[in-house]
Symmetry: C2
Subunit: 348 residues, 2 copies
C-alpha cells in the first residue's frame, strides 16, 4: 500500500506488537510493509499477493517445513530468524536438492517489542540473502499476551533435486560409511548457556549455518553413491542414527573417538548433565555413503569451509535389532538409544 | 519406525501432550507415526524423510503460507485443522492455480489432550482428502504450558498455474466488474458465537471450504479476463477491496443491496456490534473481472455449489484517492475504510 495511506509511521524503536497488527487492516499492512518487506526485500513480496509465483523446469522437487520456538530468541551465533532460514534450507538440502524459495509465517505475542521483531526479521533477511534463497511469501498472526512466547516462526522451503538423485531414509546398506560434517553439540550448548546465563572461558557459539553449498559439492563428488543425508537437530546425532537405523533396517557401528566434539562443548555438557550425542546441531549433517564413494565425498567436504572437520565416524552393519553401537578405542562398546524423555526443550 | 520399537502404545483417549513429544526422540516419533501419519495417510509421510519429493512439469507455480491461531479450536462448520487446509488451498487457488501439495507444522502446548489433537488431525486429513491435496510433510514442536494456546498450525501450499494466466493484485482496471461468490460474515460470526457462548434461533455455520474447484470453473469460463482474485478472510470484504484498490490504483463502487448477507448474520452482527463488511470469511472469494468476461464467469460460478449465491456487487472506477465507496438504493453513499484497530482477534 502507498505510504500516504498510513496514519502515522511505525514506531520501531519504542513500539510494541498489539492485536491490531494481526487484524488484516491498516496496522497489519503497515507492519508487513515497513518491517517484513523491508527486511526481506524482493519483488515477490512487493507484488503484494497472498501467494508468490515463479517458473520451474520439469523435474523433481522437494518441500519441507519447520516451526521454530527456540528460547531465548537470541543466542551466540544466531537467533530464531537466522535459525529458521538455515534449518529449512538444510532440510531441503538433505535431499541433495538446491533450495529455491522460502515462505515464513509469524505468530507474535501481543507486547513483543517491534525493535526485537525487526532485529529478527533483519537477521532472517540477511540469512536468506547470504544463502541466495529468497523469502517470497508470508503471514503474520498476533495472539494475546500470555498465549505465545514472543515470536514463533514457521518456514517452508522448496527446492529442485538434481536429475538421477533419490536420497531417502530407507537406503542405507550394510557396509555404507557414515560421514559427519563436523563437531557436534555446539548449537544446543550455545542455547542452553544463554538460557541459563552461563559463561565459559571459551565462548560456545551455535553452528547454525546453511548447508546447501556443502551439499552441492558432495553431490558432485558422490552422485548416486549418496544414500541418505540428515541434519542431526533435535535429539542430536543419537536420534538421527537411530531413525536411519529403523528406517533402513540396519545397525550402525560408530567409533567414539572419530566423533568430533570441541573440548569446551564436552566440558559444558559435563556441567549441564548433557550427552553431546543427544544435543542439537544446526549446521551439521550426517551422510550415509556407498563405500566406493566415501573418500571422494569426504575430500569434497573437507575442501568446503562448513565441512573442514568432516570425518568418517563408522559404518552401517547388518543388524536385525537396528542398534546404534558406539565402540571405544579399548574395544568396549555401548548401545546409543534415543532419548525417551526430554533433555533440551525449545532448542530450535 | 517400526511399532516394536515403542515402549507402550500412545494413549490417545486419556493422554496429553508433554514436552517429550517435541524432543526429537522416541515419544515424538510415536506421536508423528500414530497420530499424524495415521490421519494424513500417504506415501510421502510413510517414507519418513524430513522433506517430500515429487515430480513437476515445466511451468508456473505458486507458493503460499498461513498460520492458524483461531480460538476456540472447534466451531460450527469446522475447526482449526479443516480451516488450515481450506485457507491454504484457497490462497493457492486465488492465483487461478491448481493446488498440488500441502505442508503442516504444529506448535503444541504442553497439556493439550491427545484426543483433541487427534480430532484436529483427523479433520485436516479429511479436508485434505476431500480436496485431493495431500499433506506431504510436516513438523511438530511442543512448548511449555502457558507459552502457547492449545495448538497453532502453519500450513504452506504449492500449486501450478494454468498456462497464460497471471492474476495479480495490481491488475484491476476501471470498468472491471467485482464478483463476490456468496454471503459474507458467516465464518467470523460462527467463531464469535462459539467463543461467547451465544446461540441463535438459526444456527450460524462457518463457510470454511476449499474453493479450488470453483476457481477451476471460473478459469475455464473467464480465462485472461480474470484480473485478480482474493479471499476476504481477516478484515473481511472491506479490507480486501481496500487492499486491491491500493494495489491496483483504482477505486471501487459497490452496491450495498447487491452484497449478500444472511439475515441471521445481519442480526448477530447487530448484537455483537460488528459490521459484516469487516467480518472474516473462509469459503468466499472476490474476483475482479474484465467487463466482457463478467457474465460468463458469473454463470460458471452460479453453476457450482460454492458459488450459487454469486453476484456482481459493483465495479472498479478511476479514483486517485483509491476509495471504496458503498452506494445505497436511495442514491446515498459511504466510504468503506479498513479497520485501523482490531474487531475480531484470533478469527483464523
Amino acid at each position: 500500500m502507498s505510504p500516504k495511506a498510513y496514519r502515522r509511521k511505525l514506531d520501531i524503536r519504542n513500539g510494541r506488537v498489539d492485536l491490531s497488527h494481526g487484524a488484516g487492516g491498516r496496522a497489519m499492512a503497515q507492519l508487513v510493509a515497513d518491517l517484513f518487506h523491508e527486511a526481506f526485500d524482493n519483488d515477490w513480496l512487493r507484488r503484494g499477493n497472498d501467494q508468490a509465483a515463479f517458473d520451474v523446469a520439469q523435474g523433481r522437487m522437494v518441500m519441507t517445513t519447520d516451526s521454530y520456538v527456540v528460547s531465548p530468541l537470541f543466542f551466540l551465533g544466531g537467533d530464531i530468524g537466522s535459525l529458521a532460514v538455515h534449518g529449512t534450507i538444510n532440510d531441503v538440502a538433505m535431499a541433495g536438492a538446491q533450495p529455491l524459495y522460502l515462505s515464513a509465517s509469524f505468530i507474535l505475542e501481543e507486547g513483543l517489542a517491534l525493535a526485537e521483531l525487526k532485529r529478527i526479521a533483519d537477521s532472517m533477511g540477511a540469512a536468506a540473502r547470504a544463502a541466495g534463497v529468497p523469502i517470497v511469501t508470508g503471514d503474520t498472526k498476533v495472539v494475546e499476551r500470555g498465549k505465545a512466547d514472543g515470536v514463533f516462526i514457521s518456514t517452508t522451503g522448496i527446492g529442485v533435486v538434481p536429475p538421477g538423485l533419490d536420497l531417502s531414509a530407507e537406503k542405507a546398506l550394510p557396509g555404507d560409511r557414515v560421514i559427519l560434517s563436523g563437531t557436534i553439540g555446539d548449537h544446543g550448548v550455545a542455547v542452553m548457556s544463554k538460557r541459563q546465563n552461563l559463561s565459559f572461558e571459551t565462548e560456545i557459539i551455535s553452528d547454525s549455518a546453511a548447508l546447501h553449498g556443502l551439499v552441492a559439492t558432495m553431490v558432485t563428488a558422490g552422485g548416486q553413491g549418496l544414500r541418505v543425508m540428515r541434519d542431526p537437530t533435535r535429539g542430536g546425532l543419537g536420534a538421527t542414527l537411530n531413525e536411519l537405523a529403523q528406517q533402513s533396517g540396519v545397525g550402525f557401528r560408530i567409533a567414539e573417538e572419530a566423533v568430533p566434539v570441541k573440548p569446551e562443548v564436552t566440558a559444558a555438557c559435563e556441567l549441564l548433565g548433557l550427552d553431546p550425542l543427544h544435543v542439537a546441531n544446526e549446521g551439521k549433517l550426517v551422510a550415509v555413503v556407498a563405500p566406493e564413494s566415501a573418500e571422494a565425498v569426504l575430500a569434497a567436504m573437507r575442501a568446503h569451509p562448513l565441512g573442514c572437520a568432516a570425518a568418517i565416524i563408522g559404518e552401517a552393519v547388518a543388524d536385525e535389532n537396528r542398534f546404534v553401537e558406539m565402540t571405544t578405542g579399548f574395544g568396549g562398546g555401548r548401545i546409543v538409544d534415543w532419548l525417551s524423555g526430554e533433555q533440551l526443550p525449545r532448542i530450535c
